[in-house]
């Protein structure tokens, strides 16, 4: 499923980029995520505990920053599983200066497998956008700025 969106973050582009391109800091922005393990400058893993209709689920995720152009573009892939369920995503974030803030647009290919496909697929678009919103908000905070839509 392709999910896309955009928003303006009240943080300077370079400051936001510094968060999004650093696995350690990026991991801090992911909502409900713990047990972060940094493998190298491009790869990290984390355990998420999203709450779904099935209850709180433990998802072990592996992330990789597969493409980046400093302060402009980053593409991150992730693969996570929880039992027979699987989440696979590739998300591309594009940043552009917007006054003192940063205009961020994103496009993601998100695949759910297993019972998640049945339960979550229809709400996936809004769920994913909420997650990206949360990441950007956290990213803005980490960069030292407040954020706004």
């Amino acid at each position: 499923m392709i999910v896309s969106g955009s928003r303006t973050v009240a943080a300077p582009r370079d400051a936001l980029w510094a968060v999004l391109s650093d696995p350690a800091r990026l991991a801090e922005t992911l909502p409900g995520v713990g047990d972060v393990s940094i493998e190298d400058e491009h790869r990290f893993s984390a355990v998420a505990h999203p709450v779904t209709a099935l209850g709180a689920t433990r998802v072990a995720m592996d992330f990789e920053i597969v493409e980046q152009r400093p302060s402009e573009h980053v593409r991150i892939s992730g693969l996570g599983s929880a039992g027979e369920n699987q989440l696979q995503l590739t998300v591309a974030l594009d940043l552009a200066a917007d006054g003192e803030g940063t205009a961020v647009s994103w496009s993601a290919d998100v695949q759910l497998r297993g019972v998640w496909r049945s339960l979550l697929q229809r709400g996936l678009g809004s769920l994913f956008n909420e997650q990206v919103d949360a990441v950007l908000a956290a990213g803005a905070l980490l960069s030292g700025a407040s954020n706004e839509r």
Binding site: S81, Q86, G114, S118, L119
Partner: protein
């Protein structure tokens, strides 16, 4: 006492008991209900064994993927985890299951878990045994499975194209079976008919049953004896044994199956043998009993689905007077990823080749295909459901396209009452029936004339009212010899069931049967016929609950499936009860010093018919045989056991593999349903305004139980027609694998059902009964018929069994689009 029936030209004469009738045929309250309604039933999840562990299966998230690695180390390190089992181990511990398909599909290597690659979403790839179900589930998440995704095919027709990804490399294609059934001369009929109606495509959708109790088992591989105990709700345990035994090297003597209460089956619990195999292997590995209760999503995603079938290029030759000569069709049956019970479905439909009609010329080119979807299993009305729906569709379409009245066209083409026993073009014998009378009764129940008036009035008000009719057959008591039509090498034929009726030491009558009832009331009906034969009350007859192989009441086909208990199960009970009756009379006559012919059984006594005061209670007979036997003459003592086993065997022969003909089934119950629906022009929503179900199943043993099954089957069919459909996306992901989005019909969805019945006793069965309970197909036909009747002129034909609001909306709009309607008529 029994009387010989007049010999038919089709079967040897049989004897029908005249002793039935005092209790048989009455609405005796169900003996089972006392414990079930009080929550005292014993289902699989209620069972417990010392040292048992709980199993959770790890399942593939991919519909098609190579398994490159499985790492269980982290899982096994968790305290409380007893053992794991992976597909790789299964590949070493299990031989592939025996396949019923001939080569090349017969070379399929099917295991209890994915070995090497997964072929459908939800296929088990590993299993965890732990001290609790919760721990097993949590620990399962620590098993790391690496997959290499492969291309997926989910279309049952596209899958046989040369460029389709192949599921089973050892077969070389995705064709599970292919053959052509050709009866009469359809080419001549098409050439000489006044009209030929051509229908492009009809589709029977994928749905299933949703039993209250999902599959489950408690399995213990006893390390000391090597005996494996399967306490399971599998509904055909001896069939399961035939698959499990050779696969893991167990003789039948080392497999002990039992069940007590089963919360519904409808056929799809037949193929749970794969899970039973995995549980047995896990039990052996861990050295402890293992218990598994399937979750609802596991059941919906990875148990078994009903067969999906697509019919292409249908041609129907019709004469000017409305006589339909037959049809030809290409049928593609989507079996899913494995041939677990298939390709039996490729022949089961042939039990009802012409449906309820006198069609003489039929050609069906049948392909069983494999796709990356959940394997199919027998589902209420298995394989005949699809075929009969297609026939009802074509009858309606012929009527609509050629301007015939749908009622009159059916009555003209139905097998007529005086034609029974009726031989179909492929040699099956319809035993009895009166379809025109059933149709009249169904129409009466929906007030057909009134419905027509409402329809005319509604046309003026903008409401869309449709009236539908559906006729089906419920063929029962299979001849398993039909399996040889799909594979001449298969060693199966005939059918049978076993029962034991015994008189115990204190005069108790106990019945043990080889069936595994799932709610059909076998304890009650078995007690009714036994009571009739032994001259007592059903309350005095104890019928052992459930199935227990140790009771020695089984044959190779034992189980509860395919509409046969009233014939095979009760046939066995009647035979055993008659034997016991004979022994009781022998002993009683000796003790009373009279001739056997002077004896009668009544009220639990053996007595002289001419002098009822001279009587011995059953306890007296039993006590003498079991505890005072020296008082009996030696030859009598040697000849009675008061423990009488009987195997009922229907009078079948082996069908002909070459011509694909023979007597495939013994009895033919039938259903004619009628409905009035309203279709919302704005939304496509279908509302059932009136519904009638008329059933005919021979002589009823317990009419109340029959009516309950009629209601259940009708509700099942209504659910499938309007609400229940498994939807896969192109990746092979099931999009509705929970009750949140697979809407199983509830009492709120099923309309008030007006039921009617007629009784046409079967001349071929010892009690005149016919198997029943699988009439779930009639609503599919009836609702499709009614929706089509409500559509505007020029709309596309109703082409699918599943007609949710979205599909009906599209059909409503198709009239304005003036595109192809899916049908054309060639008239000469």
């Amino acid at each position: 006492m029994s009387t010989p029936r007049s010999e038919t030209t089709f079967y040897p004469a049989i004897e029908q008991s005249e002793r039935l009738g005092n209790w048989s045929g009455k609405n005796v309250p169900r003996k089972e209900d006392k414990r079930l309604l009080k929550g005292q039933g014993a289902f699989v999840d209620d069972l417990w064994m010392h040292r048992q562990g709980h199993v959770h299966f790890v399942r593939s998230p991919y519909a098609h993927a190579r398994i490159t690695a499985i790492d269980v180390a982290r899982c096994e390190a968790v305290p409380g985890v007893y053992a794991t089992l992976t597909g790789e181990e299964v590949g070493e511990l299990q031989q592939p299951y025996f396949q019923m398909a001939p080569e090349p599909a017969g070379a399929m290597k099917d295991y209890c878990m994915a070995v090497g690659k997964a072929r459908y979403m939800g296929e088990p790839v590993a299993a965890v045994l732990a001290e609790s179900a919760e721990l097993a589930r949590d620990a399962a998440e620590l098993i790391e499975v690496s997959y290499e995704p492969l291309p997926v095919v989910v279309d049952g027709i596209a899958t046989i194209e040369p460029d389709a990804p192949v599921l089973h490399e050892e077969i070389g294609s995705n064709v599970g079976w292919h053959g052509t059934y050709d009866y009469g001369d359809i080419d001549w009929a098409i050439e000489n008919a006044d009209h030929v109606v051509r229908i492009d495509r009809l589709h029977f959708h994928r749905f299933s049953s949703t039993p209250l109790e999902t599959s489950g088992a408690l399995v213990n591989w006893d390390p000391g004896t090597g005996v494996v105990e399967f306490r399971t709700n599998n509904q055909m345990p001896m069939f399961a044994a035939m698959f499990i035994g050779p696969a893991i090297g167990l003789g039948i003597d080392h497999m002990q199956f039992s069940s007590q209460d089963i919360g519904g089956g409808f056929g799809i619990k037949i193929t749970s043998y794969t899970y039973l195999t995995a549980l047995a292997l896990l039990s052996r590995k861990a050295g402890r009993p293992v218990k598994w209760s399937e979750s609802r999503w596991e059941h919906l995603a990875a148990s078994a689905h009903g067969n999906e079938r697509t019919f292409l290029d249908i041609e129907v030759p019709v004469m000017n007077d409305g006589t339909i000569l037959g049809f030809k069709v290409r049928a593609f049956d989507d079996a899913g990823a494995y041939l677990r019970y298939e390709p039996l479905g490729a022949v089961i439909w042939a039990q009802v080749v012409p449906g309820n009609y006198r069609f003489k010329h039929v050609r069906v080119d049948y392909t069983e295909s494999l796709t990356n979807k959940c394997p199919v299993g027998p589902n209420r009305g298995y394989s005949r459901l699809q075929h009969l729906w297609m026939i009802e569709r074509l009858v309606d379409i012929v009527a609509n396209e050629l301007g015939f009245d749908r009622v009159a066209l059916r009555k003209l083409n139905y097998v007529q009452p005086e034609e029974f026993p009726y031989e179909t073009p492929n040699g099956c014998i319809y035993d009895s029936g009166d379809y025109p009378a059933m149709l009249d009764r169904a129409l009466e129940l929906i007030d057909y004339e009134g419905a027509l008036a409402r329809q005319r009035a509604s046309a003026r008000s903008g409401r869309r009212i449709g009236i539908g009719i559906g006729s089906t057959l419920d063929s029962g008591t299979n001849n398993f010899g039909q399996s040889r039509i799909i594979n001449s090498a298969l060693p199966f034929s005939g059918n049978g069931e076993a029962a034991i009726v015994r008189l115990d030491l204190y005069g108790e009558v106990t019945v043990t049967i080889g069936t595994s009832p799932q709610g059909q009331g076998h304890e009650t009906t078995a007690a009714q016929v036994t009571a009739d034969i032994l001259g007592m009350s059903p309350d005095q007859v104890h019928v052992a609950a459930g199935y227990n192989k140790a009771a020695n009441t089984y044959v190779g086909f034992s189980g509860t499936y395919a509409s046969q208990f009233a014939v095979t199960g009760l046939g066995a009970v009647m035979g055993a009860a008659e034997k016991l009756r004979g022994e009781i009379i022998k002993v009683g006559a000796c003790m009373l010093g009279s001739e056997e012919s002077d004896i009668e059984l009544a009220d639990g006594f053996v007595r002289l018919a001419a002098n009822p005061e001279a009587a011995i209670p059953f306890i007296g007979i039993a006590a003498t045989v079991f505890a005072n036997v020296a008082e009996l003459p030696g030859e009598l003592a040697d000849s009675v056991t008061l423990n009488c086993r009987y195997v009922y065997r229907p009078p079948f022969e082996v069908p002909d593999h070459e011509t694909k003909t023979g007597k495939l089934t013994l009895t033919y119950a039938s259903q004619v349903h009628a409905a009035v629906v309203e279709v919302d022009d704005e939304t496509g929503q279908v509302t059932i305004l009136d519904y009638a179900a008329v059933d005919e199943c021979g002589r009823k043993v317990n009419p109340m139980i029959v009516e309950g099954q009629v209601h259940g089957a009708t509700g099942h069919g209504v659910g499938a027609a309007l609400y229940e459909s498994f939807e896969y996306d192109a990746d092979g992901q099931l999009l509705n694998s929970t009750f949140a989005d697979y809407h199983a019909a509830t009492s709120l969805d099923v309309p008030h059902i007006r039921t009617g019945d007629i009784e046409c006793p079967s001349p071929f069965t010892p009690n005149g009964a016919k198997g029943m309970g699988e009439g779930g197909g009639a609503p599919l036909s009836t609702i499709a018929s009614a929706i089509e009747d409500a559509l505007p002129d020029g709309a596309h034909i109703v082409f699918d069994t599943h007609n949710n609001s979205e599909r009906v909306f599209e059909l409503l709009r198709s009239a304005a689009a003036a595109g192809p309607r899916g049908v054309e008529v060639i008239s000469r």
